[in-house]
């Protein structure tokens, strides 16, 4: 089976919740919807499931429009950020519930529930009620309910967001494997770029109801089509500044200018937005080098073996990722050096002009 969204839009009053989205999902693939909260991930999933109807555009399964097919007759399963189970039914009955509704024979139900509870390690809890389980077990029950259904489309809406770190790691690894065996279309919504990278597959970045880019996850990360996709796919946020290129000189955010060839070689005059990721912001003591931006340390966040140093450079705050534990005191003078080979350059309209490793991505969403 394949699922296609063709120019799908959803409006609520004047507001465009989903704006002209076209996406194609193939059988047996892992698809990530990456976007911040309110980008429209959940709404898009509701449209795919058939819970809502788009105001314009079409949803097609194997090339046939399914807009008129009610949700119960579509082959869909969904897992939510909240742990959604029937509170008055035991774990066993919860997992069996979609099969009972479908009217499967008893033996088949027993077999499927047994299989699902074994892979999700729910065997000891089958007789319990959801409220007697830990959060991880509750979510595994919800996942089992999606798994037994053998649905052709499985929608996972930030399924791990409410779990603790260890469980998240564990389930993130298991989930794609579990569903890969069933040959389903797996769609996974997340706000975390790291999660998208770990899941692999294909990623579509969402920004304010629009799909800003689609492609294999690592390549979307390496060469975002535009500034919105780059922002969505950077955590901590992208460091940015604006520069005006005229002739041989390019302006700098702190005032003054530098030789344009050292920052933006071979580009026509104009206003450009420069972005670079935290790992490409090299922190050091003030040297006065041409592509160094001096400032004061605002905060240092130490996360285990890495430190995130926030530097106030006057026109805003930039973040630098430094390996190892460094205790930069707030207020200490420091500078961030950027490597012209490691920057993203966007034009005034936000389209990518230049990406690191001298690769320019093909722009716009491919269907």
């Amino acid at each position: 089976m394949s699922l296609e969204l063709r120019n799908v839009s959803l409006k609520q009053g004047q507001d465009s919740i989903i704006d002209d989205v076209s996406l194609l999902f193939e059988r047996g693939t892992m698809n990530v919807l990456l976007g911040p909260t309110l980008a429209g991930k959940t709404t898009l999933m509701r449209l795919m499931a058939g819970l809502d109807k788009p105001t314009s555009g079409d949803v097609l399964v194997d090339g046939v429009s399914v807009l008129q097919v009610p949700v119960r007759r579509r082959s869909v399963a969904m897992v939510y950020q909240q742990f959604v189970n029937y509170p008055s039914l035991t774990v066993y009955e919860n997992i069996a519930s979609p099969l009972r509704v479908a009217g499967l024979p008893k033996a088949e139900i027993e077999k499927r529930v047994a299989d699902a509870s074994r892979v999700l390690r729910l065997d000891p809890f089958l007789k319990r009620l959801p409220a007697q389980l830990s959060g991880g077990q509750q979510q595994r029950t919800a996942i089992a309910r999606a798994l037994v259904k053998h649905a052709e489309l499985v929608l996972l809406d930030e399924p791990l967001a409410n779990l603790d770190y260890k469980l998240r790691e564990e389930l993130r690894e298991e989930l794609p494997k579990l569903f890969a065996a069933t040959g389903t279309i797996l769609v996974y919504a997340t706000t975390e770029p790291t999660e998208a990278l770990l899941l692999g597959g294909t990623t579509a970045t969402l920004w304010q109801g629009r799909v800003t880019q689609v492609g294999p996850t690592p390549s979307v990360y390496r060469s975002p089509a535009n500034i919105d996709a780059a922002r969505v796919f950077s955590d901590p946020p992208l460091n940015e500044f604006t520069t005006t290129l005229s002739g041989p000189r390019a302006t700098l955010p702190r005032g003054g200018d530098i030789d344009a060839q050292s920052l933006l070689p071979n580009l026509p005059d104009g206003i450009y937005r420069i972005g670079f990721r935290v790992e490409d912001a090299k922190l050091g003591t003030v040297s006065g080098a041409p592509l160094a931006f001096p400032g004061q340390v605002a905060v240092t966040e130490i996360s285990g073996s890495e430190s995130f140093v926030h530097l106030d450079i006057g026109s805003g705050t930039w973040v630098s990722l430094v390996l190892g534990v460094h205790d930069w005191k707030p207020g200490a003078p420091a500078e961030i050096r950027i490597d012209p080979a490691r920057i993203f350059v966007f034009d005034e309209g936000g389209r990518l002009v230049r990406a690191p490793e001298a690769r320019i991505a093909r722009t716009s969403a491919l269907v």
Binding site: V84, S88, R128, A131
Partner: protein, 296 residues
């Protein structure tokens, strides 16, 4: 050992509360206890009477004991009947409240309206409503040939006060249930739709279990209030016809103020209070233990 600084000023802050509690509950309560173990012939002469008042009250073969027992049974029947009507009706109303738009506010205000009317006014409204000569309900029923007379026929009297109570209080259960329903995340309904669950199954397996806690509170509140009901039947039927709607509180007032039989009235007050307390305690304990066993 804990070494807390001893500060006598702390007592000073507690004193106002103690005084209020003393005069609002403890002193009146002790007065009642006082009356219940003594007999008086007036002129402030009191004689020790032991537990004789209680013995008489709890023995259904005596005159006062019989009155008490039958009033107690009437009270219990009344509470059970109104709970059986108001609970399902309240939940049903809550399920029908619109989901969004201006209609929500309008509906909620309309539902809450009877709750805002003073109880004596509710009684008066229904007393007039039920009259056979000018009352809308009474006159209409008799006009279509149904024998209805709430001052002479016990069934009519009961029907009137039961319907009045349902009219008065179903709104509260509806509002409580509505609040409970609002607290259910939308994802549950979505999941049920994706499963293809029926409307009944959504109610049975999602809404009802999620409403359970709210309903326990609703039942407790309605039971206590209906078990102590006084104002409305006192205005509508005055406990009649005969003794048909003479509930414990009505009977108590008759004995205490009508017959100035202070000893019996005091004993009755205490037993009445203990019964209410016990039933509520037992009910609450059972419901919370059920909760714990299910881990809801």
């Amino acid at each position: 050992m804990m070494d807390k600084p001893w500060n006598n000023r702390a007592w000073l802050f507690v004193v106002p509360v103690l005084i209020i509690v003393l005069f609002s509950s403890l002193v009146p309560m002790m007065t009642v206890v006082n009356y219940s173990v003594q007999d008086t012939m007036g002129q402030n002469n009191f004689f020790w009477n032991g537990v004789a008042w209680f013995q008489g009250l709890l023995d259904p073969t005596t005159d006062i004991g019989g009155r008490f027992a039958s009033a107690l049974v009437r009270n219990l029947i009344f509470s059970i009947v109104i709970l059986c009507l108001e609970l399902p009706l309240g939940i049903a109303v809550a399920l029908c409240i619109p989901k969004q738009g201006w209609k929500v506010g309008a509906t909620l205000v309309l539902i809450a309206l009877p709750l805002l009317i003073p109880w004596t006014v509710v009684g008066t409204i229904w007393q007039i409503f039920a009259r056979q000569d000018i009352g809308l309900l009474g006159a209409a029923l008799n006009a279509i040939g149904i024998h209805y007379n709430d001052t002479q026929d016990p069934t009519s009297a009961w029907a009137t006060i039961v319907i009045m109570d349902v009219w008065h209080w179903t709104g509260m259960i509806a509002l409580l249930s509505y609040a409970g329903l609002k607290a259910i995340p939308d994802a549950f309904y979505q999941a049920a739709r994706i499963d293809g669950a029926s409307r009944w199954s959504v109610f049975r397996n999602i809404e009802l279990p999620k409403l359970q806690k709210v309903l326990v509170i609703a039942v407790l509140l309605r039971f206590m209030e209906s078990f102590m009901i006084y104002t409305e039947p006192s205005v509508v039927t005055g406990g009649g016809p005969g003794e048909a709607t003479s509930f414990l509180s009505l009977d108590l007032v008759k004995i205490a103020l009508g017959q100035v039989d202070l000893g019996n009235a005091a004993a009755m007050s205490i037993v009445y209070y203990l019964i209410t307390l016990t039933i509520c305690y037992v009910f609450f304990t059972i419901m919370t233990q059920l909760d714990q066993r299910k881990g809801v």
